[in-house]
Amino acid sequence: MERRTFVRNSALMAGGIFISKMDAFADIASGVIKIGIIGCGDRGKGIMHVINQSPDKFSITAICDVLDFRLAEAEKLCKVSPPNKYLDYRLLLEDKSVDAVIVAVPLHLHYPIAVDVLKADRHLYLEKTMTYNIDQALKLVELSKTRPTQVLQVGHQYRYSPLYYRVKEMIAKGYLGDITQIECRWDRNANWRRPVPAPGLERQINWRMYKEYSGGLVAELLSHQIDFINWAFDTHPHEIFATGGIDVFKDGRETYDNVQVMLRYEGKNSMIGNFGATCGNSRDGYLFKIKGTLGTVSLLSDEGVFYPEKKMLQNKELVDGVTGATKIIWNKEGGTPILTEATKDGTWYAFNEFYQCVQTKRLPDSNVFTGARTAISVHLANAALYDKKPALWKDNYNVV
C-alpha cells in the first residue's frame, strides 16, 4: 500500500447484502457517547437528525454556534434533555459532559478548532474537507499522530455506505478491468446561497461564496468524489489542470460557480479524472462514473449500476440459453444494480463507524491520513483553478 489505508473485512463487503450492518461478531463495549456539536448550520443540524436515530449510541449534551438563532434551532433537535449551549466553542471544550465533538463549521475554521478539540482530549468528527490548506493538513496529521487514542474521523460520509465499499471491492477484484477514466459531476441550477436574515450576516452565512473561508465547489462538493478515488485506488492525483469562472451568478461571490478539474493519476492505476460542478444546470445533478476495460460503474449517492462492456456478453450469443445459479438481472440498458436495495444516507453509516472507532480506539476508514490526502488534492485543484496553471503533487505531501 502506498499509504496507510484500511480495508474493512466485514459483512458489508461480502456482497452488500446487509444494508443494516450485521454485527454478530463485533465486540463493542456498550455505552452512550456524549456529543458536543460545534457549528449548528444546515450540516450540523443534519448530523443531529441522524445521530438522534441512535439514542443507544449517542446523546447530544452540548451545542455551540456563533449565531443565536442557529443555537435555538439546534436546541429543538435535542429531544432527550436540554443541551448546554455555547457561543464560544472553547467553552464547550471545557464542558465535562462532552466525550466527542462534531465540528461542522466553515472550512477556514476546521484546523484551529480541530487542534483545540484534540488538545482538549476529545474524540473528533471533523466535517470535510479536512483543512483549508496543505500546511494545515500536514500539521493536523502530526498532531493526531501524537494522540493515538483519540479518534479523528473526517466527514467524507458518502463512502461509508455499503454501496461505496462494494464498488471499492469491485475495483480491487478487477471486475472493471483496467480503469483509466473517472467522470464526476455535482451540478445544480441554483445560486448555492442560504437565506440571510440580516445583511450583516452575509459573509458568515454564505461563507461558501468567499475565498477567505471556503474552497468553493471543489472543496464542498467534488471533494467527496476526489476522496473516494484516492481511497478506493489508494492513490492521489499527481498533476492537476483546472479551469472555471463566475459564469452564472455574478452576484459578488468570489468562489467560482462553474468549475472543471482534470486530475492525472500515475502509478498502479494511471487514470484521468474529469471532475466538474456548475450552478447553471441541473440535468446531470450527481454523476459519478468509473470506467474500465471490462465495465463501467455508475453511481448515485445511494444506488449504483454496473454496465459490463459489450464484449463481456459476447460468448452468450453463441448459445440459445444459459443455466446458472442465482442469475444476474440486466436492465434494458445492459446494466445490473450493484446492491439489491438503496442504502441509507451515508452519514448514518459514518456515525456507526465513528461510534465503533471511539469504543474500540480504532482508526476510522476516513481518517486523518486519507483526510489530508484529499484536503491536499482539493487545495491543489483550487490552486490550479485560481492561479490558472497546472499544480503538481510534491513528495512531502505523502503522509503516513
Binding site: 456482497g15 450485521m22 454478530a24 448459445v319 442465482t326
Partner: protein, 344 residues
C-alpha cells in the same frame, strides 16, 4: 400386342404421376418457422421464451400473467401471497392448484432425498440472512437447535387443497422449486399454442424442446462458477440436452461472509446450518423443471459421492457437477446420461 400393352402401361403410369404431382402441388407448402423472443420480469428475476413458429402466437402479456398468478401463490416477496398467508397462519389454509402441485412434488422429493430437500427450512433461511427480512446477527447453536424443531416434512401435509401445518411456527419456502415449475408453465403454454421448438428460461432454469429450424440442436451454456455476482461470467461448458429441463443450483454466488467464513444460501434442514461440503454447482437434467429444480438443491446438500450414487441407475435424470477436490482444485464430473449432452 405386348408392345401396345407396354405403351398403355407407360401412358397409364405417366397419367398417375401427373395426378400425383398435381395433388402435391395443390397442398400448400409448410410456411417457414420464424424465431420469436419474449423477455419479461417475474419472481424477482427475468424470464425469456425463444420459440420457432410460423407466426407470433404467444404474447408477453400472456406469459406475464401466467407467471403473475404463480407469483401471487408462492412469492415470499409479496406479503399478500398465499404462501405468506400460509406462513402467518396458525394451522394452515386452502391453497390453489399450483401451490398444491409444488408442495406435493416437494414432499415427494423430500422422501426421495431422505429429507435433504425440505420446504420447511424457511425459518433457517431467514435466520441465516437469505430471507426477505435481514436479521441483525447470525443465530447461535441454541437458536439453531430451536429453529430446527419446526423444520421437517412431517410438519406440513396436504388434504385435498388444504395445506396443514403442525404448529404456527412452521413456515415454508418454495423458492428452491418454483422457478423450475415456472419454466414448466411457460413450456406448457408453448405446447398449447402448438409450438414444439422452444426454449423457456426463468432465473437460469430452462425447459427445452425441439431444435433450430435447420435441425441443429439447441445449445445451452453452463455458467462458470466465479463467486463474483455482478459481472457476466464466461461459459464453463456448452451442452446440447434432450427435450426436458435444465436447472442449476450452486453455492458459488449469493453467499455471505462472517468471521472469514463463507455462508452458503442452501440450508441443510437436518443440521440447521448452511451446507458446507465439496459441492460448488450442480446442473440437473430431468423431464420437467419441477423435478430438476426440486432435486438440484438436494444434490448440493447430499454431496458428490451420494449424488452420483443416487443418479447411478437412473435414466430419467442426470447431472453435471462442479466440486472442490480435497487439495482445493476445482474439478467436474457428469453422470453417463448427462455426458451424452456434452460436446466439448
Amino acid at each position: 400386342m405386348e408392345k401396345y400393352l407396354n405403351i398403355k402401361k407407360v401412358c397409364a403410369g405417366m397419367f398417375l404421376v401427373s395426378i400425383c404431382l398435381a395433388v402435391i402441388a395443390s397442398v400448400p407448402a409448410r410456411p417457414p418457422l420464424k424465431k420469436y423472443h419474449i423477455e419479461g420480469y417475474s419472481e424477482g428475476t427475468t424470464y425469456q421464451v425463444t420459440y420457432f413458429a410460423p407466426d407470433s402466437v404467444i404474447a408477453q402479456r400472456q406469459t406475464d400473467s401466467l407467471l403473475a398468478v404463480l407469483d401471487e401463490a408462492v412469492s415470499l416477496y409479496q406479503p399478500t401471497s398465499q404462501i405468506c398467508k400460509f406462513n402467518r397462519s396458525a394451522s394452515g389454509m386452502e391453497v390453489n392448484a399450483s401451490f398444491r402441485i409444488l408442495v406435493s412434488k416437494a414432499l415427494e422429493i423430500n422422501r426421495a432425498t431422505n429429507g435433504l430437500v425440505d420446504i420447511t427450512v424457511k425459518p433457517l433461511v431467514d435466520a441465516w440472512g437469505f430471507g426477505v427480512k435481514k436479521p441483525r446477527r447470525y443465530p447461535n447453536d441454541v437458536e439453531v437447535r430451536a429453529l430446527v424443531k419446526n423444520v421437517g416434512a412431517d410438519k406440513v401435509w396436504l388434504e385435498g387443497n388444504y395445506l396443514h401445518k403442525k404448529t404456527p411456527a412452521v413456515q415454508i419456502d418454495l423458492n428452491g422449486i418454483a422457478q423450475g415449475y415456472a419454466a414448466d408453465l411457460l413450456a406448457n403454454f408453448c405446447e398449447r399454442r402448438h409450438v414444439f421448438n422452444y426454449i423457456a428460461e426463468i432465473g437460469g432454469e430452462l425447459r427445452i424442446k425441439g431444435h433450430q429450424p435447420d435441425g441443429e440442436p439447441f445449445k445451452i451454456g453452463i455458467e462458470s462458477i466465479e463467486s463474483n455476482d455482478i459481472t457476466p461470467q464466461p461459459l464453463r461448458t456448452i451442452i446440447q440436452p434432450s427435450d426436458g429441463a435444465i436447472t442449476t443450483s450452486g453455492n458459488y454466488r449469493k453467499h455471505l461472509e462472517a468471521g472469514g467464513k463463507q455462508i452458503a444460501h442452501i440450508m441443510n434442514p437436518k443440521t440447521g446450518y448452511p451446507t458446507q461440503n465439496e459441492m460448488i454447482s450442480v446442473t440437473v437434467w430431468a423431464k420437467d423443471g419441477i423435478t430438476a429444480d426440486g432435486f438440484d438443491n438436494g444434490f448440493i446438500a447430499m454431496g458428490l459421492k451420494h449424488t452420483l450414487q443416487f443418479l447411478d441407475s437412473r435414466t430419467d435424470m442426470g447431472a453435471y457437477i462442479i466440486y472442490k477436490k480435497a487439495n482445493g482444485a476445482i474439478a467436474d464430473t457428469a453422470t453417463v446420461g448427462f455426458k451424452s449432452f456434452m460436446r466439448n
